[in-house]
Subunit: 226 residues, 2 copies
């Protein structure tokens, strides 16, 4: 499903280049639930942005569901992002002028799936325990509530691949467990789930763990760097 | 040092009022290191904003170092905030058009402590492990690096009270331990430290734990609600 070979990403800076990804090799099968861990600054978000087709590597290949992603047009990439991938951003990226319901509805409108969009958005918010916060704007929500709106938004399109960058970082352990139950049930439906996490308890609930260190994979599991 | 009595805070919403704080009683002595825990949405950030003189309660009293805060002028409050309180925000609140060094330097400039400000800012960034990221802008930093810049900025003024709203939420356990070592050494210098956290490991390192539930204190420790 997701195959990366020798992926490199460098950020040129005046003080000198930052080698964020230094040859990442990764193979994640359809329907797997995988954790990506590693210390702060090790390259996890940079990797997720490439997996989510939000940024391009400088070199290396990325095959998504058998297709070489760098051969796809901007239009095709946008279609993949809106219909096949659900992305929970580390910084949530909610639109401040839309309330929770409108934020969650947005991917459905982008995918032209407008029929019943409001009901689907409302249902997604119920699944993350926010039925009574649907009309709040992001600045009227707690940190953990914003995180849950971001999760609801990532799931509302019923994507086949879910990329979650630290989905439990802002919540208490009980809420974290509710979120993991939700991910487990999505996994049971056959979706591929990739979770970046600093929480060992969350990582332990995944089928395997991929560890990033200084921009490369250090514990391969099946199919990482060796 | 910090004494709250019957603090209430309500957010009026079209769908009905949200009673965020429903009579909080709290007494934290000078030099204590205290954890505030509670589930997502329980009122922790709302409480921290009142403690940090960033928002006012609707009713109840707040005595800070013996003075009733509601009797102070805006000017006096601003002076207290800039010189006595260091605040690590849950959402970091870094200025996007300033780099890490400039962001950390800002409280010194506000407090008119401009002599040696750049060196002090650089030193604060070294203490959180970011010596090699001083010229990066927030959008060129990882989530955990932004968190550490926010911590460095809160400490650069050497405040007597440190309010940290989830200071380790975005980092791995090793970095989290480095941050806690830093807080312990600040505590050893006699500073008062109040940490909101979802991490039981962090809460256990504090002298006592105050639990918020639905806007009131449930485990008093010494001096909470009873
Ligand atoms: N746009 C950018 N320009 C320059 N450097 C960048 C940029 N984005 C990220 N970096 C650097 O690349 C490295 C990897 O960043 P990344 O955000 O992938 O880390 P991470 O593993 O997600 O960390 P965290 O756990 O703190 O979120 C970091 O050292 C960061 O400073
Ligand atoms: N400006 C606001 N307008 C309306 N409701 C608000 C506002 N700010 C907070 N709330 C509500 O008040 C309650 C408490 O919010 P608060 O941010 O204090 O929670 P918290 O304990 O910090 O949660 P978390 O652990 O998720 O950060 C939440 O239910 C939230 O939706
Ligand atoms: Mg990250
Ligand atoms: Mg909060």
């Amino acid at each position: 499903m997701v195959q990366l070979e020798e992926i490199r990403k460098t950020f040129p800076m005046e003080a000198g280049p930052v080698y964020a990804l230094r040859g990442v090799n990764l193979h994640i099968k359809r329907g797997e639930m995988v954790a990506i861990t590693g210390s702060s600054g090790s390259g996890k978000t940079t990797l997720m942005n490439i997996l989510g087709c939000l940024s391009s590597p400088d070199s290396g290949t990325y095959r998504l569901a058998g297709e070489e992603v760098s051969n796809l047009s901007q239009q095709q990439l946008a279609t993949i992002r809106s219909r096949r991938i659900g992305f929970v951003f580390q910084t949530f990226n909610l639109l401040p002028r839309l309330n929770a319901l409108q934020n969650v509805e947005l991917p459905l409108l982008y995918a032209r799936a407008t029929a019943g969009a409001i009901d689907r958005a409302r249902h997604a918010l119920e699944r993350v325990g926010l039925a009574d916060r649907v009309e709040h704007f992001p600045n009227q929500l707690s940190g953990g509530q914003c995180q849950r709106v971001a999760i609801a938004r990532a799931l509302v399109n019923e994507p086949s691949i879910i990329l979650a960058d630290e989905p439990t970082g802002a919540v208490d352990s009980v809420t974290s467990q509710d979120i993991m139950k939700l991910f487990h049930s999505l996994h049971a439906e056959g979706r591929t789930i990739i979770i970046v996490t600093h929480d060992q308890g969350v990582a332990a609930q995944c089928e395997r763990q991929i560890v990033l260190k200084d921009g490369t994979v250090t514990i391969p599991g099946k199919g990482g760097n060796s």
